[in-house]
């Protein structure tokens, strides 16, 4: 059913607005007042919760509601990622906005009976703050300080239904751009908003569109970079799963502004659910005439095709990505020329990140001034972070630029798991650096993070605690980079290997102080001479950990110890005089390197010891086996 013009779009929006009469997102009613009203249950269908059987939970809810005669009154919807992955599977009930966490199929009967029939919340399924033990039915501390713009529709709409997107003002921005604005106005608006690339580069989006538009050619392209390769980052995945139409709409807006009729979404193969949701969204957009020829009764023609990655981190770099779409090895090219001048098949191409694009429709509808009023002087708007690692609340956090790390980790993030001590936050993935305690109160924006030796990156924020060895973390990132290096330029192909070798030596207790000088020298050479961003930023994890955790490197080299107790070669397990000779450790040792008779102190053969720690795990006497 093609939407012939904007009037048809508006009519469809009005017709479907009834959805939001139930989903009182900003104006919830109490559970008592909700009795008898039409109810919606939103079930998180993001990758994390889907893996924990959330589709089955939705199915069981529907069955049970049917059995209890409530199917007409209570409807179940699968949505995109709620963002609070630590506590999934999650469901939210409207219009009372009650959130239930860690739901399983076994809870369905209770939910229907207590929440819908008796009209009272299922206490045990409400979120409990680990520090205060307080229970929350809504407005959880996790969400309280967040400002969700890119994630605005995630968990609020059913992503596989275009009607819901349209009801939520979907495609209104495209209509405004096509009918009321010209490309120069759109570019000016974007420039005024201060939106910068959210993939990590931070390049001003308005300027990128302008440069692409200015390049003379018979054809231009818009590409959405959905390769999200940074390990630990899942912001783009959630937007694509939860609100795929926002990306399609933004690409159409970009196409009409820069003069492109064809868009591509380059998506990594590791995201099958996002691919599935995009395929549905593209098919629906075509069916409704929002992609194709003569969109909304204008001359504008635009279509989008999906292109799949095949497991190459370097293809997140725009020129490598373009080569991949062209069907070749994903090896980057020297820039200039930039893709805006000469990109896909030699034509001017604009490559934008998913999160960048998700910000476009609200900027068009609410205006550049609104967006520029959020954030800091040079970093406007919000940023989505994937908070993971040793933090209580793993999940997606969208906050205004300028929010401090402390707020994100300790307030929204709920602090460090198991009451351990914070050590560092790693931002920017393998291209980024570690931020120690003394910078916890730094505002997060592009410039501030670069100034302290890290970078914004795509938004991955890994929290490390006292049990993480910073030398081992640097080694982990270098392992990744060595694997993912495309091999084209010597500084990266050979240089990262040498860096990795030196780090391995250090973690095995064979390092020298000269190695530290070598790491810095080689690291700086690679930064200056590598062909692309992957290589240029690959030494960052080493340089930043050397800057802030040099003492750990020195301990590995001089004292031959690993302060965090991670690097196996540097660990020593010893049986003390507290040993009572129960022989349990000797029986557990996988290579029988513990000797001793019953009731006598046992001894570990240090020459043969594997440092696996099995003996210490088995020991029942406090202090009988120590590790140092």
């Amino acid at each position: 059913m093609k939407l012939k013009n904007i009037e048809a779009l508006n009519a469809l929006k009005v017709k479907n607005r009834i959805i939001f009469e139930t989903r009182h997102v900003t104006d919830p009613v109490s559970i008592e007042d909700a009795q008898g009203l039409s109810r919606h249950i939103m079930v998180c269908g993001g990758t994390g919760c889907s893996s924990s059987e959330s589709p089955k939970i939705a199915e069981c809810l529907e069955k049970e509601l049917n059995r209890r005669g409530l199917s007409d009154q209570v409807k179940v919807f699968m949505t995109g990622c709620f963002g609070f992955c630590e506590k999934g599977p999650m469901i939210e009930i409207h219009p009372d906005n009650t959130l239930y966490v860690e739901v399983s199929t076994n809870d369905v009967v209770d939910i229907v009976e207590e929440h819908f029939i008796q009209g009272k919340q299922v206490e045990r399924l409400l979120y409990k703050d680990p520090n205060t033990e307080e229970r929350f039915a809504s407005d959880l501390p996790f969400y309280h300080s967040q400002l969700r713009i890119a994630l605005r529709n995630c968990s609020k709409i059913a992503p596989e239904d275009i009607h819901e997107y349209i009801a939520a003002d979907g495609y209104q921005a495209l209509a405004k751009v096509l009918i009321q604005m010209d490309p120069i106005e759109v570019i000016d608006e974007l420039k005024k908003s201060g939106l910068r690339g959210r993939g990590g580069g931070g390049f001003p989006t308005g300027l990128k569109w302008e440069l692409t538009r200015r390049s003379q050619a018979d054809q231009r392209y818009i590409i959405c970079n959905a390769d999200e390769g940074d390990p630990g980052a899942f912001m783009d995945r959630s937007i694509l799963e939860g609100d795929p139409h926002s990306v399609l709409e933004a690409m159409s807006i970009a196409g009409s502004t820069i003069g492109a009729n064809q868009g591509y979404i380059y998506i990594r193969a590791e995201y099958p659910l996002a691919i599935h949701r995009l395929q549905i969204a593209i098919a629906q957009a075509r069916e409704y005439g929002l992609l194709g020829k003569g969109i909304l009764d204008t001359d504008f023609c635009f279509d989008i095709e999906l292109k799949y990655g095949a497991g190459a981190f370097v293809c997140g770099e725009e020129t490598a990505l373009i080569h991949s779409i062209e069907g070749t090895r994903g090896e980057p090219s020297v820039k200039p020329p930039f893709p805006a001048q000469q990109g896909l098949w030699g034509k001017p191409t604009c490559v934008n990140n998913v999160e960048t694009l998700a910000n476009i429709p609200p900027i068009i509808l609410q205006g550049a001034d609104w967006y520029a009023g959020i954030g800091t002087e040079k970093s406007k708007g919000t940023k989505v972070f994937a908070l993971a690692g040793k933090v209580n609340n793993v999940g997606l956090v969208e906050v205004p630029m300028g929010t401090t790390l402390r707020k994100i980790i300790f307030d929204i993030g709920g602090g460090i798991k198991h009451h351990k001590t914070f050590k560092a936050a790693q931002t920017g993935g393998p291209s980024g650096g570690c931020i120690p305690t003394k910078y916890l109160d730094s505002p997060i924006d592009y410039e501030s993070l670069t100034a302290i030796g890290s970078m914004m990156g795509s938004g991955g924020l890994i929290v490390l605690d006292e049990d993480d060895c910073m030398v081992n973390i640097a080694k982990f990132f270098l392992e990744f980079t060595v694997d993912e290096s495309c091999g084209r330029c010597t500084p990266c192909r050979v240089g990262t290997k040498r860096l990795h070798e030196i780090l391995t030596k250090i973690t095995e207790g064979l390092g020298t102080l000269e190695d530290l000088a070598q790491l810095e020298k080689l690291g700086n050479i690679i930064k200056d001479t590598a062909l692309c961003g992957l290589g240029q930023s690959s030494p960052n994890p080493i340089l930043s950990t050397l800057k802030y955790f040099r003492d750990e490197y020195i301990a590995h080299i001089v004292d031959k110890t690993c302060p965090a107790g991670v690097c196996k070669s540097l660990l020593k397990y010893e049986i003390t005089e507290k040993c009572v000779g129960c022989t349990l450790c000797a029986k557990k040792c996988p290579i029988n390197c513990i000797t001793g008779s019953t009731k006598k102190r046992h001894i570990i053969d240090q020459e043969r010891c594997l440092k696996c720690g099995a003996c210490m795990e088995q020991c029942r006497v406090v202090g009988a086996i120590i590790r140092h």
């Binding site: 990758t47 994390g48 889907s50 893996s51 924990s52 609070f84 992955c85 630590e86 999934g88 999200e228 390769g229 940074d230 390990p231 630990g232 980052a233 899942f234 995945r237 959630s238 193969a269 590791e270 995201y271 099958p272 292109k307 799949y308 990655g309 095949a310 497991g311 190459a312 981190f313 991949s324 779409i325 062209e326 069907g327 070749t328 090895r329 994903g330 994937a386 993971a388 690692g389 040793k390 793993v394 999940g395 790693q426 993935g429 991955g460 890994i462 490390l464 993480d468 973390i473 982990f476 990132f477 990744f480 993912e484 495309c486």
Partner: protein
């Protein structure tokens, strides 16, 4: 994964798919994905066939297959077990998960069990960091795996009922 169709049927399906592409050469990666779906891997003869159909050098096809980690030239087992070794899983113990899997399956990462049931590989981040550490079996994510028992139970689901 590949089904029990005959080689000729596989070849026909592949050819039909290639013929349906407007821009064949540019869609090499999509074609390789499809071929690996039906054959399970990309041996020399399949690469050569694709090169012929697309009228490009087989060295180019090989260059692409060897570049991208998703493509394999070695047959895989019936079930592919991928350990996520992304940063979030790493700090939550993916090393131990990998060690456990190697111990339980009695193979190293990159190998296939002698009965051809499981292939063990590593993967970089599927974006399910809330469930760290995770492993993915045939595309399905299994998370929060901390004990040997939990890992064993997941593997058991994929073993044929005896």
């Amino acid at each position: 994964m590949c089904d029990s169709a005959s080689p000729n049927e596989f070849a026909q399906r592949l050819d039909d798919y290639i013929d349906s592409q407007t821009h064949k050469k540019e869609n090499l990666i999509g074609i390789l994905h499809y071929a690996q779906e039906i054959y399970g891997y990309l041996p020399d003869n399949v690469q050569w066939h694709i090169a012929q159909k697309l009228d490009i050098p087989s060295a180019k096809v090989y260059g692409v297959v060897s570049f991208y980690s998703f493509f394999t030239m070695v047959p895989r087992g019936e079930h592919v077990v991928n350990v996520c070794t992304g940063t979030a899983c790493f700090v939550r113990g993916s090393d131990k998960l990998k060690d456990q899997l190697e111990s339980q399956l009695k193979i190293k990462a990159g190998e296939t069990t002698p009965d051809n049931l499981f292939t063990l590989e590593t993967l970089r981040c599927v974006g399910a960091c809330g469930l760290a550490p995770v492993m993915i079996v045939d595309g399905k994510v299994h998370g929060r795996l901390h004990t040997a028992q939990e890992i064993h139970e997941v593997l058991e689901k994929y073993r044929p009922e005896s």
